[in-house]
Subunit: 327 residues, 2 copies
């Protein structure tokens, strides 16, 4: 791990962390995970022009004129997002994030200011979730910004929850709303770490995932790993207002909710009995977000979308293609 | 963590690992670290044109004509190096590497073949050191190759060894040879994981570091963190033959040994009594590499280079600037 002086300076402003007895200033950080003896590890790499577009970047590239008026991300938002997507992955296992390792390839021109912006965005989020910024690797080059973060956490008190435990008869719930994340949400969302831990504490989660690839596609991951099929209730899916505004004759707001991706909401499976508990929770203030029953699992591997008039169509695997990639 | 099908396919060929009960196919990997309850975490990001140059890349860029005839790295060598530098950081703490997380930004053209090459280089090294390839993030974009690896390990049986324990009177040793790493060594070296564990087992290491930034600069890190000075014996420094071949009137082979960097050797401090033990070890087959006494620490913070004729010069902080960066 190499640290340029200026990023080490920034980092020194963050207080030392009791769970990281050895951090900056050594070749590797030492984390105390003796409470559980287990590490949950996830990593995500974000790239300028793929996961966000910074101010001043020539845009759009040829062939992506339809993305010409995308809202630019500030460096702070880009840094925050890079950490938030990793925290969302820890939430998706009902884990507790402990430490983050931040590597960057900074453009040679303006790299120092950019790094300060990234840091100013990610440090408060780390603090909010009590995550130690414990190491990283700082580089500069002739290419665009790349930021790659690894978060190490621990399983929550009830253990890690996987994608593979949904059973026939289980009920499917979702947190929050879906679609239209590109307008703002993908840069501003708060990862559902607290919600996942509260849910795991209060009910028996059979399967859990976060929706980065899109509702349809991530639901498909639960089905694949669990060996079950699903009926998704089209009229029950909570649609983000931005998905309605951005809807067109080509892509309805439902299409957007199913396929846009980067919602970073949770999907989870519980028994029908536990579902009653979840519905009661959704009326209480124990879970600080909307919880909606949006479908049910069955033995037959088919994945379908059921409309309120009884019409049923196979749920296409319409999921996520990265928002800035060619569609 | 997103996985494209083809890299998941490659990874499925690697056997599941007993220490990683949950890996690919979930949002985060779960590692069993209950033996020690601690994680050692390090991360390094390597970039095309900075850490290696692949075949077919236009080279040299303007202003770096002096690097025109650099040896190109194969994709296998680039992948291997990306893992090896991280294993070297774990060695630098006398740790045991357990799992690696591999993120890549692949160029859109030829990315799939490139990824297979990277994998073919890093998978055998992971196997050699019993490191589980437990996750990652696979992306493609319009930029050059970036590969960012995080390795999670555990402290060895004697605990993690830091940079900050060298004391006045301690003796400085080095493994291997220094300088000229750009010719071949930076792509082919074997990280000193076994050597570090054996040394920590057989003697009381006060301080330990690996030399990525260059002998002079990394020795400076030990001095900085330990609050000591050092005398380095110029004639005792083992010089790699490639450093002699590449020497010039501008930069002697000694300059190269002190400053080239990317040697990935170990520097360590032990008491004078322990030094006798180390010298005996260097004659035995318990440590599978050359061990050389190259200096001594003292209370005065000065760092100097002592020649065999008694001449003494302040050791400039000549260390490492990245080999492909402008000097």
């Amino acid at each position: 791990m190499h640290e340029f002086a200026w990023i080490a300076d920034l980092r020194r402003r963050t207080p030392p962390h009791p769970r990281v007895p050895i951090g900056i200033g050594d070749d590797a950080a030492l984390l105390d995970l003796s409470a559980t003896g287990h590490a949950l590890v996830t990593t995500d790499m974000l790239m300028e022009g793929v996961d966000f577009v910074l101010p001043g970047t020539p845009w759009p590239p040829p062939g992506r004129e339809h993305l010409a008026d995308i809202r630019r991300a500030t460096p702070e938002e880009a840094g925050r997002k890079a950490l938030a997507v990793n925290l969302s992955d820890i939430a998706a296992m009902a884990g507790i994030p402990r430490a983050a390792f931040v590597s960057v390839a900074l453009p040679r021109t303006g790299g120092a200011e950019l790094a300060q912006g990234l840091w100013a965005g990610l440090a408060p989020l780390a603090e909010e979730f009590d995550v130690a910024l414990a190491g990283g690797d700082t580089n500069s080059w002739d290419g665009p910004l790349v930021i790659s973060i690894t978060v190490v956490g621990e399983p929550g008190p009830r253990g890690a929850v996987r994608r593979n435990g949904a059973r026939p008869g289980d009920v499917l719930f979702a947190t929050g709303e879906f679609g239209g994340s590109l307008v703002d949400w993908h840069l501003t969302f708060t990862p559902r770490v607290r919600e996942a831990l509260a849910l795991a504490e209060l009910c028996d989660l059979h399967a859990l995932i976060d929706t980065s690839d899109g509702l349809a596609r991530d639901l498909g991951h639960i089905c694949d790993e669990s060996g079950v099929g699903v009926k998704l209730f089209a009229d029950r899916i909570p649609i983000r207002p931005a998905a309605r505004t951005g809807a067109s004759s080509d892509r309805t707001s439902l299409d957007r909710a199913l396929g846009d991706g980067e919602d970073f909401e949770l999907l989870f499976a519980v028994t029908a009995v536990e579902a009653e508990k979840v519905e009661a929770l959704s009326q209480s203030d124990k879970i600080p977000c909307r919880l909606t029953r949006i479908g049910g699992f069955h033995e037959n591997p088919a994945r379908s979308l059921v409309f309120v008039d009884g019409r049923e169509v196979l749920l296409e695997n319409r999921g996520w293609e990265h928002f800035l990639s060619d569609r």
